[in-house]
Structures are given as C-alpha cells and as structure tokens.
Amino acid sequence: MKKNILFITMLLMVNFVWAQDDLLDMLKDENTKSNPVLATFKGTRIITGQSNENISKKHLNFLILHRFGELKDDAWYYSLLGIDAATVRLAFDYGVTDKLMIGVGRSSVAKIYDFNVKYKLLQQTTGGKKNSPLAISYYGNMGLNTTTFSDLTRNNFFTSRLNFCNQLILARKFNDKVSIQITPTMVHRNLVAKTSDPNSVFALGLGGSFKITRSTRFNIEYYPRLNGRDELASNGKTFNDYLAVGFDIETGGHVFQLMFSNSTYMYEQGFVAQTTGSWSDLGIRLGFNLSRTFSFDNETKHK
C-alpha cells in the first residue's frame, strides 16, 4: 500500500514538472508576440495640442476648454487670476473606429468652428520580435472663422474665413513615467494681412508628459515656428511661440487638465501662428480642460 502511494506521488510530481515546462513554453510564445503600448498620454491632448491618443470606438468625448485673462492685466485678486476674462472652446470628439477619430469644436475667440480628424497610422508595440518604437498619427483640422468681416464694402470671399492645420504626431512612451512627442505642424491661413506674411506657417511641436503620482502627470508643450517669425499682431508686436506647462489630474471618467499658457487660442491654427502672450512679462493665462467620455458601444455596456 505504502509503495502504491509513493508511486502515485512520484507520478504526480513528474506531472507537475511537465506542467511547469508547458507553462514556460507558453510564456515563451507570449514573449514573441508584440503588445500595443497603451496610455502614452492621459488625454487626447497633451495640453492644448493633440497627443497621439484617440477615443475608442463608438465613444464620444465632450471637452470643455477654458483660457482666462493674462496674469499681467490686473492684480491677481482683482480679476481672480484672470478668470473674469474667460474664453471657452466646446468640443465633441467621436471614435468612428479605434484608429479614426472625428471632432467638431467651437471657440469663443474669433468665433471659430473647427472640424478635425485624427488617424492612428502606427501603434507603438513592445515584447515582440519586431516592435514599433514609435506611435505615429495624422491630425488635420479645418477652422471656419465666423466673425463679421472688418470691411463689408469690399468683395469678401468665403474662402478667406478658412484656415487649416496638418500635423504628423510622433510619440514614444519610454516607460510608465516618461512620454515624449514630436509634432511637425503646418498651419495654413487662406488670408493674411500683409504680402510679407506667409500663408503657411511651419512649426516643430515638442511635448512631454512626466508621471508624478498614480493619477497626476506634469506636461509641457512648445511649438517653435520655423518661418513667419516677423509677422506682426494687431498690437504692432511680433507673434510669440506657444509654450505651456500643466498638470493632468485623473478622477474616474474625467481627465482634468490645469495649465499656464501664453495663448488664448485652443486650436492649432491659433496657438501655433497667432500667440500674442509672452512668458517674460507674465503675459500668460491660467486655463483648464475638462473631458468626459460617453459610451455608445452597446456590446461593452452589457458586459
């Protein structure tokens, strides 16, 4: 009887060893399969500019963006850090597929409606034999200025109201703590003031996101322009390059982004080419982005 028990125990042990071998094999198989790198950035925007993130399929993202008055305009307690001079952009982003996102927005600055599309061309992957080190997305935006023309007696054209943005978004998540993005950007305005002003402005956007705690990240964004640097704003000074720093705070279904930026614009054509504020004399604005995602995906809802 004792012999029998010993024999069965030994058989079981052998089985265990075999089973372990099988598990190891499975692990090896998994190792050769590449996995997508997710959550490079917390939101669809790093601060004001786009990140490589999309809304997932059949999800609607409602965004409320605010930029307040310049800090130098008043004593901070008089207009409460510029909050009395608020500007707003309301926007909806919808995920048609997991790769394609379309959106529409409306800014109070220059009464601009904008229509945009973002497409994921390449996903960053890890763990496989062949990995993609980068995530690549395309972002395009068409803006429609609906303010009254400054001179109604002249022959005004509808096309003068349009402006465009094309961006190639190159992002890499280095680890859980650091994500970096390079964003070559082309902004086109159909009508500019002077012959010497370029209709197309090129900029090389740089952005980064750095983890602080589990639910907060520090972000920075800078869009130096490559041409058109001597274009004058209506105040007679040249436009400035856009620079912003901010924090992401994630709470459940919301992402709350708090930032300081030198632009009042909340869409690319504005903040790349027409930023008037300057960091050197506190011409910066407090602002925040609020986003809430709604699901229209019945399959995931019932799970």
Partner: protein, 117 residues
C-alpha cells in the same frame, strides 16, 4: 468601413481644394484697412479712394469746385506738381495739417512710379 473611407476622402478633398494664398493688402489695395503703407498702388486700386476722400470731396477740388479739379485720372495727372507741393512736401493740404503719413507715402510712391492708372 466604406463610409470611413469616403468621409476621409471627402475631408481630404475639402482640405486640398480649400487652400488659397490670399494677402489682404494685395487683395484689397484700396481698402481703408490696408495696412501696408509702402505698397505701390495704381489710380484705380487705391489712389482714387485717397484723393476722393481727401481732395476731391464736395465743395473742394471736385468738378465745379475749387481749382485744380481732381475728379478723374487725367486731371489728377495734370496737377501732379501741385499735389506734390501741397500734399507731400508742405503737408498742408488738405488744410490745415495734411493727410496721414501713410496716405502721403502711398501718394508719393504712386507719383514716383509714374502715376499708373
């Protein structure tokens, strides 16, 4: 998926065909908002507006008004010397303090360019 393809194509179409390279100062050279004072204008695209507003207004240098009559191109061209003296050099016409420096520059450039119509 077809829908996605079509909407992407449509968007691309709008982006590609909607692109213009207009400059406000070239498109509207005689606009009151024209900010480029150094642009060389022609009589029809800017100088007429300046002269009508500043010189050939009713009761002044219009037809039937004070000499010289500056109500059309050939009459303005014939009075170029007088215009140069009073409006550009002495800067006292229209009385008493002349035109804006931007208009003076435009007028000066136009005369120096041979007064194109």
């Amino acid at each position: 998926m077809k829908k996605v393809l079509y909407s992407t194509l449509l968007f691309g179409f709008i982006v590609l065909t909607g692109c213009y390279y207009d400059k406000e100062d070239k498109l509207y050279p005689n606009s009151t908002n024209n900010t480029d004072c150094n642009a060389v204008l022609t009589y029809d695209t800017g100088i007429k507006t300046i002269i009508d507003a500043n010189c050939a207004s009713s009761g002044c240098h219009n037809s039937g008004g004070t000499s010289p009559d500056l109500s059309n191109y050939s009459l303005v061209k014939a009075s170029a010397t007088k215009i140069t003296l009073r409006a550009i050099t002495q800067k006292n016409m229209p009385a008493p303090s002349g035109m804006s420096s931007c208009n003076i520059t435009k007028l000066d450039n136009w005369i120096k360019a041979g007064m194109p119509q």
